[in-house]
């Protein structure tokens, strides 16, 4: 047995022993989830003893399952939620195993994420685009009958919707070499409309407004309680820093003049400003990643192992 195999065997056995000890030690167990059955119409809890022979229970049309404590007398053990916690915990450990080295468990978790994400997106787009945006507009009656029963009876069809549908179908022409040229038309439409929309909104919201936000007074006076005014040095320094930073960064990206002499010195300040902003971005990224790690560890040690009780 080489060093690597020994390490993994010890880690695996240690983990199994910890899980066994923890599930014996606590009443809650490891990752055990309990629920209560609630009548969705009345909001009342259905006792676990009620079965199909009970008329009141049989009359309930829609049942929802709400999370509950194990000590709750109405609570029942939930197989699906317990399995969910265990699968999530094991997949988290599979992903963490990459920190040791690349391995089959990590690859498995990665593949599951890709597959589940693709499935989720397909289902979402089917309901939100094909049904809600296409079928509902082309044939409200069919949409009401087959998919969306709450569609108003007086909803009218909007046949203009056929144009984007046809354009959408034309994208698939790229798969047939003889008519592949037709696939360029919808793309041209998308590029043209996006460019037009972006240009107008960008000019208004970013270009003009951002320039306006940079035109600042370098010396700021604020009103005092006695009715006079005094130098607001904090705001003044802030405004000076903003103006210098903007001008030096713009100079750095101005390539029509050689960066020598005064221009070179100003562009040097621009590099420093850029470096500071990259540093801030990197630090904030690290903060985000640590928060993600914290969330996963909270999940493992609280929801799964039950070692943390708030």
């Amino acid at each position: 047995m080489n060093r690597e195999t020994r390490f993994w065997t010890v880690l695996f056995l240690g983990g199994c022993l910890l899980l066994a000890f923890q599930s014996l030690r606590t009443e809650r167990g490891v990752g055990q989830q309990f629920v209560v059955r609630v009548d969705a119409t009345t909001g009342k809890i259905i006792p676990p003893a009620a079965d199909a022979s009970d008329n009141s229970a049989a009359a309930v049309k829609t049942v929802i399952y709400e999370p509950a404590s194990k000590d709750d007398p109405e609570a029942i053990w939930s197989f699906s939620r317990t399995s969910g916690i265990w699968i999530a915990a094991l997949l988290t450990l599979c992903v963490f195993s990459y920190l040791y080295r690349d391995n089959v468990c990590y690859k498995l978790a990665e593949s599951i994420i890709v597959g589940v994400s693709a499935g989720y997106w397909i289902v979402t787009y089917y309901w939100e685009v094909l049904i809600a945006k296409v079928l509902l507009r082309l044939s409200p009656e069919l949409a009401r009958y087959a998919f969306l029963p709450d569609t108003p009876a007086d909803a009218k069809a909007d046949y203009l919707c056929i144009i984007p549908v046809v354009l959408g179908c034309m994208v698939f022409c790229r798969l047939i070499p003889k008519i592949a040229w037709m696939g360029r038309w919808p793309l041209a439409f998308v590029v043209g409309t996006t460019a037009g929309l972006k240009l107008i909104l960008f000019l208004n919201a970013d270009f003009v407004r951002q320039i306006r936000s940079t035109i600042l007074p370098l010396v700021v006076f604020s009103a005092t309680a006695s009715g006079g005014s005094e130098l607001d040095w904090k705001q003044s320094i802030q405004n000076i820093v903003i103006v210098i930073s903007v001008l030096s960064c713009v100079t750095y990206f101005y390539f029509s003049v050689e960066h020598k002499g005064i221009v070179g010195r100003i562009s040097r300040v621009g590099i420093w400003v850029l470096m500071i902003s990259f540093g801030a971005s990197f630090a904030l990224t690290v903060m985000g990643r640590i928060t993600l790690l914290t969330m996963r560890l909270q999940f493992l040690f609280d929801d799964w192992l039950g070692l943390v009780r708030i």
Binding site: E128, T151, T291, L292, L297
Partner: protein, 294 residues
């Protein structure tokens, strides 16, 4: 010059650093060490605006995030929603991220379902809040609801026609909103809400964003953004203000998920600073060794 310690540090396996980071994050979690933060002006401005708005004001809650960014944004979404419910504003939940749908449902369940679903003035679906669900079309969807919400989405997430919901009466577009509160994880998100809805329609907007995104959004503050809540630190700041204003029950640790993540954050940052200092120390020692003993 021989230094066994320096040689050992030069060849240190990076997995020891991973382990030390795991311990730095795990210890505060197990010991329940949290962290409060002093609120910063961009966070205070959003809090004050929600306080200032008269009861029943219309607030569009755009939840544009997914499970991968929920660590930072979900605590923020909970705090924003709690605060709006405490002030009894009307809430319009919407997302332009397909993965944002479960985030809205989870927020509604955790806040309205748990704390505001019963009592003297319970929050009622369709009257006090509505889930408009997912709007397909990314940034174009924002542009569409800026002119006509019903064209972008004639039904809510439950399939009910918007015309049948009392909360939607008199609401045609984003223009009728008193405030847009956006929890943004990237594209499309805060930047697009500013460009496509808030600036052209002149509707006040505040964004809660991930740390990564904040440097892109700070240029919009304070002219185009009313407030900006940044990463987990911003979420802790907002929770701190909420706990100070409404101590019962929001000073309780169980209602403060960001606070509990703050302790781990603090210790991880201390470790990282220590590692940066150590790494630079090793680099300087190596340079000294090379120059004195070439």
């Amino acid at each position: 010059m021989t230094s066994p310690l320096l040689d050992k540090l030069n060849t240190l396996d990076r997995r020891w650093i991973f382990l030390s980071m795991a311990l730095a994050v795990l210890s505060p979690i197990l010991l329940q060490i949290g962290s409060d933060e002093t609120p910063s002006p961009p966070t205070i401005k959003l809090f004050d605006e929600i306080e200032r708005l008269p009861e029943g004001s219309r607030i569009l809650m755009a939840m544009d995030f997914d499970p991968t960014s929920a660590a930072e944004l979900y605590p923020m979404a909970l705090s924003f929603t709690r605060h709006c419910c405490l002030r009894h504003h009307k809430l319009y939940f919407v997302t332009i991220w397909p993965t944002g749908k479960p985030m809205i449902e989870s927020t509604i369940k955790a806040v309205i379902g748990a704390d505001f679903g019963s009592g003297d003035r319970p929050y009622q679906y369709g009257v006090d809040y509505v889930n408009l669900g997912y709007l397909a079309g990314e940034a174009v969807a924002i542009s569409q609801i800026s002119s006509d919400i019903r064209k972008a989405r004639p039904q809510d997430a439950r399939g009910t026609s918007l015309d049948e919901l009392p909360i939607m009466s008199g609401v045609i577009s984003v223009k009728e909103m008193d405030l847009i509160v956006n929890a943004s994880a990237g594209f499309p998100g805060g930047k697009e809400w500013v460009q496509y809805a808030a600036t052209p329609q002149k509707v006040p907007i505040a964004v809660g964003c991930t740390g990564v995104q904040s440097t892109q959004l700070f240029p919009y503050y304070p002219d185009q953004l009313l407030g900006l809540v940044t990463g987990i630190r911003g979420a802790i700041e907002y929770e701190t203000m909420l706990a100070a204003k409404y101590p019962n029950p929001y000073a309780n640790r169980s209602k403060r998920p960001a606070f509990l993540r703050g302790g781990a954050q603090r210790w991880a940052h201390r470790l990282m600073i220590g590692l940066i200092v150590l790494g630079n120390g090793i680099h300087l020692a190596n340079r000294y060794r090379r120059t004195t003993h070439p």
